[in-house]
């Protein structure tokens, strides 16, 4: 073996060791700072992890663009959706007076909130875009209570990592990390364009996450669960793996 090839071998060996070691350190740092999405495994894990990690760093304090009232889309679009179930229809017949949102999981004071209670909290408005993964979009004024306010009321424990939110339609649920759950523009929205939130847009209550695509803004919210792991929630509209769910868990793209 000539000197040159030996030197090459040693250098590439060192580089490979440094590379593997560097990746290990990077992975541990990413885990520590919450930069690994739950669907990091599988064929598309690397791409999802790069997107999530880079955007978590880039968007830590950023706010979704807000628009002047003149930009509100008229008429507002109502997306197609599965037929509403009997439980929903009963509550609708009662004017949603009995609508409850249960907030439980790793919290100090689990509680069920009525719409009236949510409306008694300081209400906030945002004129933001709802952007569907299909390609269409509309702008509306959303009225609601920041999710962080509700989470403060129940006392989230420090080990919390995700908030899972369920629709009244049992198979329709999704989840977000605490960075998005506590973001000032993440709302439990009960109003739209100065009125009650229409049924077609998720009334009486939907979650609004203007920094992610529309499919994360689930309609007809009845249950929020604070958790440290997404395991065991089963298949959902966007379950935490490419195999179980159809779409990416993180939809900030």
């Amino acid at each position: 073996m000539s000197d040159l090839s030996r030197r090459k071998l040693i250098i590439s060996g060192l580089a490979a060791t440094a590379g593997v070691g560097g990746l290990g350190v990077a992975a541990r740092m990413a885990q520590k700072y919450g930069l690994i999405p739950p669907d990091h495994g599988g064929l598309y894990g690397p791409g999802e992890t790069l997107t999530y990690a880079s955007q978590r760093v880039l968007t830590r304090h950023s706010l979704a663009r807000e628009f002047p009232q003149s930009k509100i889309s008229h008429p507002p679009l109502t997306n197609e959706m599965p037929p509403l179930n009997d439980a929903y229809k009963r509550l609708q017949a009662g004017g949603f007076a009995d609508w409850r949102v249960l907030v439980d999981g790793i919290v100090d004071r689990p509680a069920a909130f009525s719409l009236a209670q949510l409306k008694s909290y300081p209400s906030r408005k945002q004129t933001t875009m709802l952007q569907c993964e299909e390609g269409w979009s509309y702008i509306a004024e959303w009225i609601g209570v920041p999710l962080s306010h509700v989470l403060d009321a129940v006392g989230v424990r420090p080990q919390a990592r995700y908030v899972v939110y369920f629709s009244i339609d049992r198979d329709w649920w999704d989840s977000i990390d605490m960075a998005d759950a506590l973001h000032p523009q993440t709302f439990l929205a009960y109003g739209m364009n100065g009125n009650e939130l229409p049924v077609g847009n998720g009334g009486p209550l939907r979650i609004r996450l203007p920094r992610q695509l529309g499919y994360k803004s689930i309609k007809f919210i009845t249950h929020l669960k604070v958790t440290d792991s997404l395991k065991g929630f089963g298949k959902g509209s966007a379950a935490a793996s490419a195999e179980d769910g159809s779409y990416a868990w993180y939809a900030g793209i």
Binding site: L43, Y44, P46, G47, E48, L50, T51, Q55, L58, T59, S62, L63, A64, R65, F67, K71, S73, P75, L77, N79, E80, M129, Q131, C132, E133, E134, G135, W136, S137, Y138, I139, P210, R211, Q212, L213, A242, G245, S246, Y247, A248, G252, I253
Partner: protein, 260 residues
């Protein structure tokens, strides 16, 4: 300009020697880095194209400005069926929805092609690849040189042996346009559609006039890239498929070995 002249003379010498010596000792037409990044980009481009079309057919309508949906007037519609019920297309059926894996694949391929592109661009500036191989030489920067090349192309003339070792002015300008205009533009318009990215860098979308404008430009730039690909492949067949493929895969050019 002495360095450019010498570069342009050297290939001729290599070509004449190529017929005498085995292919393995012939200098590479393209550097290993150019060859590797070329094929990774090719693979990613097809992944992005197929997944992009899958995503597109869920809403084959385009708008200008900030918002657009089935209730607003489109800039134009593609006369194809859609993969969602929501869109009135005039067709009596709905295509299967493949957005799940398409979206995963689209963004994964985007990452790979961006990282590959960065490697190519950075190394290209360090090795002088752009100045040497892509920037038109001073003698070629004239309308006469330009029109000669275009006339040759229109006649579908087979390139000379020297051209197996160097790009003509039209090729150079096209590659520069694809590398420094179309690819950056498709990345920019892609990022402008990301609600999270634009929350951090709103100018990305505001400069384009809105999120739907970004989507429309993204579509047109993709069409231009596909046109480039088609012409690129046709020209490879005109120039000699085997020699050009060999040059981009294993390195040596030697167009005179084409018929062996």
């Amino acid at each position: 300009m002495a360095s450019l002249e010498s570069v342009r003379v050297a290939p001729g010498a290599s070509v004449s020697s190529a017929s005498a010596v085995p292919a393995t000792t012939v200098t590479s037409r393209h550097s290993a880095l150019v060859r590797v990044t070329h094929w990774i980009t090719t693979l990613c481009f097809f992944a992005l194209l197929v997944s992009g079309i899958e995503i597109l057919i869920s809403h084959p309508r385009f708008y200008w400005g900030e918002t657009g949906n089935v209730l607003t007037t489109p800039l134009f519609k593609l006369p194809i069926p859609a993969s969602r019920n929501l869109v009135p297309t005039g067709y009596g059926y709905v295509l299967p929805d493949q957005n799940g894996w398409s979206r995963y694949l689209h963004f994964q391929a985007a990452w790979v092609v961006i990282l590959t592109g960065l490697l190519y661009i950075i190394s290209g500036f360090f090795t002088g690849h752009f100045q040497k191989n892509l920037l038109p030489s001073e003698t070629d920067r004239s309308w006469r040189a330009f029109s000669t090349v275009i006339a040759k192309h229109l006649r579908f003339a087979r390139p000379s042996q020297a051209e197996a070792w160097s790009y003509n002015v039209l090729q150079r300008l096209t590659y520069l346009f694809v590398i420094f205009v179309l690819f950056p533009l498709v990345i920019w318009t892609g990022l402008a559609m990301s609600p999270a990215f634009v929350s951090a860098v709103p100018a990305t979308v505001n400069l384009l006039g809105g999120q739907q404008s970004a989507r429309t430009i993204h579509f047109f730039v993709s069409v231009l890239l596909v046109l480039f690909l088609l012409v690129h492949v046709v020209m490879i067949f005109v120039a000699g498929f085997r020699s050009r493929m060999r040059a981009m895969i294993t390195g040596p050019a030697g167009s005179d070995m084409e018929r062996t």
